[in-house]
């Protein structure tokens, strides 16, 4: 799963498979982080009396 | 370090000599700490690395013939080490060793998904459905060179790989890099009272196994000896266990044929 686990080889199989996986996980992670941060900003803006 | 030629350990079992006595099974169980239960009658849930099958030609008396066929792990090479079971293991718990041709099983890595069992057509791979428990005094006779397995993992014949390791270490201590043919032999080979099992390096023309079957390197190790055959060769598993039989029906039982296909021996 990680380059430091001993069975890891820098071959096409690992790069394609793990590349695809980490790509998907990154998108999911970034998407959720964006939503949470934006929601916090929006909510704090609302508390300040700046209704959107 | 000097590059050594890769070995390809294999086995030749002469079915004309096999009496079906089962000594190979017993020797294997003792050597490899194979667990057993009080009632081991259901062979589908018991563990045996070596199993002896009884084949019959299916003809009525007086033409009935029988043949006993011992079946260890075939140590399939497949195509370039792509053996059926190794490629499917999700956790890299089994490996095809290019230097010996042996398919290993890492018990502490296996998490028991049993995909390898589904992949193996020979039913060589078996699952530990129960905790391995030996009668109290028997634990003292367990082989210290072989780790016992735990419930929930798959195990299989290893061609007594621990014997190879011990022999190699001994040879290295004596300053030798190569083993003599008789220095590494499996437990079943040595135990067979009929001398039906021969073991050695298929890549070494000096070894008996090579001379007996004459594997053809250009055709995936197919035997040139017309009396020799391998189990399920047509599937492309490329096994390293060869059988010898002078009887055509036995050789034919080694593989599957569509009815119309020529009844000539495929080798």
């Amino acid at each position: 799963m990680f380059p430091f686990s001993f069975e890891w080889i820098w071959d096409a199989g690992h790069m394609v498979f793990m590349g695809g996986l980490w790509y998907a996980l990154t998108i999911m992670g970034l998407g959720v982080t964006y939503c949470i941060i934006k929601a916090a900003v929006d909510a704090s803006g609302e508390n300040d009396g700046n209704h959107h | 370090m000097k590059h050594e030629k890769a070995k390809k350990f294999g086995m030749v079992i002469d079915l004309d000599k096999c009496t079906g006595c089962g000594t190979c099974m017993v020797a294997c169980m003792a050597e490899n700490n194979v667990p057993f239960r009080e009632d081991d009658t259901d062979k589908l849930i018991s563990v045996a690395w070596m199993r002896v099958y009884r084949l019959t030609n299916g003809k009525p008396f007086p033409h009935t013939e029988e043949c006993f066929l011992p079946r260890p792990c075939m140590q399939c090479e497949g195509h370039d080490g792509h053996s059926p079971c190794v490629s499917v293991c999700p956790a890299t718990a089994t490996d095809y060793d290019m230097s010996t041709g042996i398919v290993s099983q890492i018990y502490t890595r296996c998490f028991g998904c049993r995909y390898c069992m589904a992949a193996c057509p020979y039913h060589v791979r078996q699952f530990n459905w129960w905790d391995p428990l030996w009668p109290e005094k028997m634990t003292e006779s367990l082989n210290p060179d072989v780790s016992v397995r735990m419930r929930g993992v798959v195990e299989k014949c290893s061609f007594c790989i621990h014997r190879y390791q011990t022999a190699t270490q001994k040879a290295n201590l004596e300053g030798r890099r190569e083993l003599e043919e008789d220095e590494y032999q499996t437990a079943c080979t040595q135990a067979c009272p009929a001398g039906a099992i021969t073991f050695g390096d298929l890549n070494n023309p000096g070894h008996a196994v090579h001379q007996m079957v004459k594997p053809d390197p250009n055709h995936g190790g197919r035997p040139k000896n017309p009396k020799a055959f391998r189990l399920l060769e047509r599937l492309g598993t490329n096994p390293k266990v060869y059988y010898l039989s002078s009887r055509k029906w036995v050789r034919r039982a080694g593989d599957n044929y569509i009815r119309q296909e020529g009844s000539q021996n495929h080798s």
Binding site: Y34 | F111, G112, C113, P121, V153
Partner: protein, 438 residues
């Protein structure tokens, strides 16, 4: 009692009735939990699996629920990426059902491994060449996507939505849902396919083995295709079943018909591909390994694995539902629609059964005979366990979350006195429903 949690403007059954229903389902759940405890503590000897039948009921259940849960990714794909806007009225439910299916699959996989505490090895020591590795990764990641898709729905609960942070979070998640749906479709394509690859790559098992393209056997594509075709049928089926149980219409006919039509054409394409695959396998692949087509369907105990199984899978449960669903009249007839979705569901489940269990039942060594298997009660109970769990999740979601955006319109309802008394403006109530439609 729990009226403050129930979405505005919809009617739900009395609390006692709901509690009774959940209680009854929990009884079944408990039965499953007992079996689960037995399996975890005593091991897989509690099952009727054996060394020849190493894969059995559980693996079938995994494959089947994932195929049926395929409605989530495909409906999401159609809604967010193809732009079939009407499907917004069913996508919530598709996601919810999909979520339950995937939780079930992971749960069952957890039972099925001999050393559950080492389950993480499949990720940590991953063998990227194994189809099962791909299944594990994509399945877990996709469950993550489904959770992300389900969360906004939870946040739209009347009380939770009052918290500004949750209100905005739900809104923001809806805003970028297309990104998650695309990721879900990507992951689904691979894990649905890998499940097909599981039997397809077994080159020493002539019944399952298929040739293919590059590293993927044809079953890889057939499994993805059939999940996309039959998953929506399951979504329709569960929607219709829910409507029957709660006794009211929840989704408009045009939405169901659109999904049924797409499903019908997908099924038509799939069945044609499946027939071609079967013919090629029967005439080229299997004979090259020494097996005649009928070897796989004859001489087995009780003729369980007869040719009927292929006729049932492809003909009765493939061609017939496809023919119904691609015609306007078929989709509009209630009976025909019910029949078609039911047959499609049975068909895909049968396909998964055949592709895993028959593969192991067929003798490969010429001197062996067929292997048989019947699950133990522990296996059956643990397979039903996630179904009970899913039923509870769906029941709770239906009761407390705005799952069906069209429910209020289809079932005009005079709110009870306690609802009216609550000092909430109409504007707020409207805001509750809007994100669900986004």
């Amino acid at each position: 009692m729990d009226s403050a949690l129930i979405p505005k403007g919809v009617k739900r059954c009395p609390t006692w009735q709901f509690v009774l229903w959940i209680g009854a389902v929990s009884g079944v759940l408990l039965w499953g939990v007992v079996a689960m405890v037995l399996i975890y503590f005593k091991g897989l000897n509690q099952t009727n699996m054996n060394n020849a039948y190493g894969f059995a009921l559980w693996i079938w259940a995994d494959l089947a629920v994932i195929a049926l849960g395929g409605g989530a990714f495909f409906t999401g794909f159609l809604r967010y990426l193809v732009g079939k806007d009407e499907l917004k009225n069913i996508v919530n439910y598709a996601v919810l059902v999909g979520f339950c299916c995937y939780v079930s699959a992971l749960m069952i996989l957890g039972f099925d491994i001999g050393q559950p505490l080492r389950g993480w090895f499949i990720f940590w020591h991953a063998n990227v060449h194994s189809m099962l590795t791909e299944v594990a990764f994509c399945l877990s990641a996709y469950l993550g996507v489904l959770t992300i898709e389900y969360i906004p729905l939870i946040l739209e609960n009347r009380q939770i939505n009052k918290v500004p942070f949750f209100h905005h979070l739900a809104h923001n998640m809806h805003e970028i849902m297309a990104v998650f749906a695309a990721t879900g479709a990507f992951l689904s394509f691979f894990h649905q396919g890998s499940l097909g690859g599981v039997p397809g790559v077994l080159f020493a098992r002539p019944f399952g083995y298929r040739t293919g393209v590059f590293v993927w056997p044809w079953t890889f594509f057939l499994f993805t295709w059939s999940a996309a075709a039959c998953g929506p049928c399951f979504t329709i089926f569960i929607t219709k079943l829910t409507e029957k149980i709660v006794g009211k219409k929840l989704v408009k006919d045009n939405v169901i018909e659109l999904l049924a039509k797409i499903s019908g054409w997908m099924l038509t394409g799939y069945i044609i591909a499946k027939i071609i695959d079967t013919v090629y396998w029967a005439t080229v692949t299997a004979p090259s390994k020494g097996f005649a087509f009928m070897d796989f369907y004859t001489n087995n105990p009780g003729s369980i694995y007869g040719i009927w199984i292929l006729i049932a899978e492809i003909g009765i449960c493939g061609v017939i539902p496809a023919a119904i669903l691609i015609t306007d009249r078929g989709r509009k007839s209630k009976t025909a629609l019910w029949l078609a979705v039911l047959l499609a569901i049975i068909g895909v489940c049968l396909n998964r059964w055949v592709m895993v269990l028959q593969v192991l039942a067929v003798p490969v060594l010429s001197f062996e005979s067929w292997f048989t298997y019947f699950p133990s009660w522990q296996e059956i109970a643990t397979t039903i366990l996630p179904v009970a769990l899913g039923t509870i999740v769906v029941s709770l979601s239906y009761r407390y979350l705005p799952v069906f955006p069209q429910e209020r319109e289809l079932n005009p309802y005079e709110p009870a006195a306690d609802d009216v008394l609550e000092p909430e403006t109409q504007e707020l109530a409207e805001a509750e429903l809007k994100p669900a439609q986004a």
